[in-house]
Structure formats: structure tokens, C-alpha cells
Amino acid sequence: MSADEEVVVRPTLAVLVKDVPLADDATDANGPRGLDPISEVPLEWALRQRAAGRAAAVVAIAMGPPAAAETLRRAVAFGVDDTLLVSDPGLPGSDVRRTARVLAAAVDQVAATVAVCGYESRDGSSGVVPSAIAAVLGWPVLSRAAEATWTDDDVIEVERDVGSGPRRERVAAPVVLSFVEGRIDPRYPVLRDVLRSRRASVPEIALDRLAARGLETTRHERVVRTERIEPPRKEPAYAGPDDGPDAILEILAEQGIVA
């Protein structure tokens, strides 16, 4: 190696994945649980970056009960290098703020400088945890990424789907990215890899170990009760192919969408 040659230390990528109920009824405590389908998108993106030589390693991080190790084994089947499960009796029922603090501490723990996750979880669906993690870390967040390209000059060009057409932004690490489905198709692991991953050991870390790195452990919230809320029913309005644009305008006017 010549003296002029720069030694590039490739960053570690943290993928924040979630262990969620997989059944249609997310309140069924006995139903099957597993990797949140939205987590598959950032996993896929992270593994592509590693394959392209942008990242040195991909670490999947989850917060959950000891059984959530199964979800991290699923991430191993996808191909991550390492896993970390933050598990603690003091964690169940954590709100957005506490979740973000714990996950931010875990990102710090694995020394990652790019943290990626899904835009919202299947069960909690708050959609604000990625931003809250970024706030704790003091990093920028680019939310609802549909695709992101890591360029040769270490800029990540992000195409965001924010509901009003694609929006392109450029950012450099450290950064938090949250992904939406649609553009990045996860490559599902073959059975051989899934079966092999069942034997993978999943490192578990408790709060006091994370707390040593500056995490506030005081708890300000508790679960009072869980109740099932039926989704509001919306009656569909129909305009047939022969009705013309006026019929559609009329429906929109009835909904108060157009004047």
C-alpha cells in the first residue's frame, strides 16, 4: 500500500427489524409472530449495499421478548452478518419515545452509522419511530424511501415516496432511512438457509448494559389495556365507464374533496 492510498473504513449498517403478530387479528396474543413484512425491504436494501461493497457488515437489531430471537434468526436467513436482541422485562408496552431511545442506543452499541428500517410497523403503525430514533442520535432522517442509491462519493441518493410524487434527496452518513414497499423486492431466503438459521445464536442485551451508554431507563408509561377497534366502514361509491367525468366529480363533491 502506498502512502497516498486512503484507507476506507466501510460503515456497519444497522437494520432495525420488528417482531410482530402475523395473524390478521394483531391483538391475538397466542397467534404466530415473526418478522414484520415491512422489515424485509430495509433488509434487502442493506444486503444489496453489502454486496456492492458499500457496507462492511449488516447487523439486524430488534427489541422484544426472548422469543423475538426467532425473528432475528429470520434476518440471519436473509443473510445478515450479526444480530442483536434488546430484551428486558422493563420493555413491554414501551411507547414511541422509549422505543426510539432503546433502538438508538442499540444502533450506537453496534457502532453503525447508517440505520435503516421500515416506515411503520404492522402492529404499532405509528410511523414516527424512525424519526424519533434519528432525533435521539442527532442524525438526519429520510423517511419513506422507495429506493436509495449509494454513490461512489459516499452520498446516498434517496427517492422518497411522500404521497405527492417522488422526491429526490441526497444525504451522507450518519443517517436514518425508513423504507416503503414497492420498489425494492426482497429476495426471500431458500428453505436450506432458513433451516440453517434456526441454529444461529442471537446475542441478547438487557437495558442496564445499554443504559451504561447513556440511555435513560426511567419508565414513564404503562399499558392500561388493549382493546380491539373495528376499522371504520366506508361505503364505496361507484362510477361506471359510461357515467363520464361528471359522475366522478359528483362523488368527489359529496365527499367534500372538490368544491
Binding site: 395473524a23 390478521d24 391475538d28 397466542n30 404466530p32 431458500v190 432458513v194
Partner: protein, 384 residues
């Protein structure tokens, strides 16, 4: 108040088939179904079709059903049974060698196309299979799988065309045998029928308890796990892997399903986990990839849980249980393919006609008498 010759309770494959054959006899039939036809375990069946049975009568019934699946459109209003004749192979350990040879010899006499494959033929028949623990295999050329919902709907709609009355979203709460009829109370409605046939699968036992009949039927939760072949060369036929305790069923050209052959845990039919747990899918996949290593390239594709209404000997429970009340249940997870032709025998029984002598063995009284039937091989009693 309307009156019927027969009230059939349950529109799974067995109730549907009974209604089909009863209306063929010209009887006035009402079918009461708590959800929709095939809305219970029938619709969740992997619907494997085979005549490879140790029970001779059931082998013949299955063979007759195969004929019906094949000519289903002509037997109904052009309905599609979805029958795909893929062939099926059944793998046996050394301990089952003699029974297996004896069964195949008997099946051949009745025209079931079963064929014993000795180990020297394994390589050609089952390329890429690891068969060290397999002593003998049976190939059934006509085996395959059908569409359980399509078959059930075809039989029900044909019964309706012949005059049957189908009441869906109708839960039968009460059965009452009166002097010259049976009163069937569904929700707020009372229906009178000359006879009732309870073909309510896992709900059969609580319903019969209403008339003081207690049948020792239990309910087990069994999964059907789905996979795609991915880049792996497909297994194009059904596999019954008895040493591995699972079955494999192709589902179209790109997918397949696995399910267990062993007994499973009991479940409450009104409150059971209908989804498959990831571990359940992987347990089956682990056994399967030991046998067929190339399917390590397959992918998981979900799955679901179903219910089996299981009798103590894993054989059907068919017969009269009280004055005017008959039962057709307890087919223990292997009833679907029997359904279309079994209904003909059940209809004869309910109509008071002469029945095939083979039907008597399924008499519900056999449990009280301690007169249990044999079924299948070892723990794989589901082979029937």
C-alpha cells in the same frame, strides 16, 4: 312451517355429497350450513385424492370418488372438481413391508392402480430422494388432488337444482326428536324433517349431545404449509412419507404443500389459531428436505391450520344414533376424497334403503362395544 324428508346439517363435502345423492333419490332435502358450503374444514383441506387405503371398503369408495372427480362436470352442472391426476408415491419403513405388500395385492384385485416399487426401482422413480430408511414404496398412478371448495359447491348446487333448500349462515342450535319428525332449530327458526343427518365435522359432537348422544369424537388442529419450488426441480406427484411423518402435495406447477401424518394437539373449533406458526412450517420442511434435499432451494409461502374431527380409530363414524337421526362424521382428516362417493352409501342409509355391507363397520356403536377398526400404518393412521 316447512317440512322436509331430510335435514342435512353441515355443507362440508360430506353434507354436500349426502344432499347430492339424497336429491338424486328424489327426496326433499334441506341443507343447513353455519357459514357457506366448504366454509369449515373442507375448504381448508389439502384435498389429496388416493385410493391407497388399508381399509378395503374405503379403498373402493375412494376409487369410486376418483371416477366422480374425473367426470365431475357431467355429474353436476358443469362444475369443476379441480382434479389433477399427478400420481402418488407412499414410502414405508422395513416394519411395514409385509402389511404394505398384502394391502397392494388386495387393492389390485379391486382395480386400484397400485404398484409396489422395490428399492432397486427407487432411483428411476424418485430421483434425488434420500431413501436409506425406506424399504418399500407404493406408486398409485391415479392419485392426485382436487379443489375441495369447487367440489363441494358443485355437489351442493346440483342438489339445489334438484330441489334441495340451502340455508347458509344458519347455525343449528338444537335438535329434538319428536314422535314423527325431527325438529331442527337454527337461530330463531324451527324446521321439521322426517330424518336428520348430522355431517357437521368438528361441531358434530356438541350437536348430538343435544339429543343425549355422546360420540367420542375429538378435534385436532393440523396445518397445511405452503411453499414454492423456486429454482428446484418440482416434485410433480403426491408423496406420503410415512417414515418422515409428512405428506407432500403439488399445488399447480410452481407450488407445493406439506402436512403432518401424525396425530396433533386438540383444538376448540370455535376458537383455534387459523394461521400457521413459522415453526410448524419449518418442522415439516426439515423432515421433507432430509428426504428430498433439492427442495432446500424452495421458499416458504405461508399456509394455514385446519381441523380434523377425529374418531378413536381414525375411521369414519356413519350410522344411526337415535330415532330418525343419523351421523356422517369423524373422517379424521382423510375424508375429503371419500366424500363424493361415500355420500351415495350414506344417502341409502338415511333413505332406509339397503346399504353396502361395508358400511356397517363404521357404526357409531363400535366405540361403546370396544370394537375399534384398524387404520393406516403405525402412527400414520390417517392413511385409513
Amino acid at each position: 312451517m316447512e317440512s322436509f324428508d331430510v335435514a342435512v346439517i353441515g355443507a362440508g363435502i360430506h353434507g354436500a355429497s349426502a344432499a347430492y345423492h339424497l336429491t338424486e333419490r328424489g327426496l326433499r332435502v334441506a341443507v343447513l350450513e353455519r357459514t357457506v358450503p366448504a366454509g369449515g374444514p373442507t375448504g381448508r383441506s389439502s384435498a389429496i385424492v388416493r385410493a391407497y387405503y388399508t381399509n378395503q371398503f374405503l379403498a373402493e369408495v375412494a376409487k369410486d370418488s376418483m371416477e366422480m372427480f374425473t367426470h365431475f362436470g357431467e355429474l353436476t352442472d358443469g362444475a369443476d372438481s379441480g382434479f389433477r391426476q399427478t400420481g402418488g408415491v407412499f414410502l414405508h419403513a422395513e416394519s411395514e413391508l409385509e402389511q404394505c405388500r398384502e394391502v397392494v395385492a388386495r387393492l389390485l384385485e379391486t382395480g386400484v392402480r397400485a404398484e409396489v416399487i422395490e428399492p432397486d426401482g427407487f432411483g428411476e422413480m424418485l430421483p434425488g430422494f434420500e431413501l436409506d430408511d425406506v424399504a418399500i414404496a407404493v406408486w398409485e398412478a391415479n392419485a392426485g388432488y382436487a379443489d375441495p371448495a369447487g367440489t363441494t359447491h358443485g355437489m351442493v348446487s346440483t342438489a339445489v337444482r334438484r330441489g334441495a333448500e340451502l340455508r347458509t349462515s344458519t347455525t343449528v342450535r338444537q335438535l329434538e326428536v319428536r314422535g314423527d319428525h325431527v325438529a331442527v332449530t337454527a337461530d330463531d327458526d324451527v324446521m321439521l324433517a322426517d330424518r336428520a343427518l348430522v355431517a357437521a365435522g368438528p361441531w358434530t359432537r356438541p350437536l348430538l349431545e343435544r339429543i343425549g348422544v355422546d360420540l367420542p369424537l375429538t378435534v385436532e388442529r393440523h396445518v397445511v404449509a405452503a411453499y414454492s419450488f423456486g429454482t428446484a426441480a418440482p416434485v410433480p406427484h403426491v408423496v406420503g412419507d410415512l417414515p418422515g411423518s409428512y405428506y407432500l402435495k403439488p399445488d399447480g406447477a410452481t407450488h407445493f404443500q406439506l402436512g403432518p401424518l401424525d396425530p396433533s394437539d386438540q383444538a376448540d373449533p370455535d376458537d383455534f389459531v387459523q394461521d400457521i406458526y413459522p415453526d410448524e412450517s419449518l418442522e415439516l420442511a426439515a423432515a421433507m428436505t432430509r428426504r428430498i434435499p433439492r427442495l432446500g432451494d424452495a421458499h416458504q409461502a405461508g399456509g394455514w391450520a385446519s381441523l380434523y374431527d377425529v374418531s378413536p380409530d381414525w375411521q369414519p363414524v356413519i350410522g344411526q344414533v337415535a330415532e330418525r337421526v343419523f351421523v356422517d362424521a369423524g373422517t379424521s382428516g382423510h375424508g375429503f376424497k371419500l366424500g363424493p362417493a361415500l355420500g351415495r352409501h350414506v344417502a341409502a342409509l338415511v333413505a332406509g334403503d339397503s346399504v353396502h355391507p361395508g358400511l356397517a363397520q363404521f357404526d357409531p356403536g363400535r366405540f361403546a362395544r370396544g370394537d375399534l377398526l384398524t387404520s393406516g400404518y403405525g402412527a400414520a393412521r390417517i392413511i385409513g
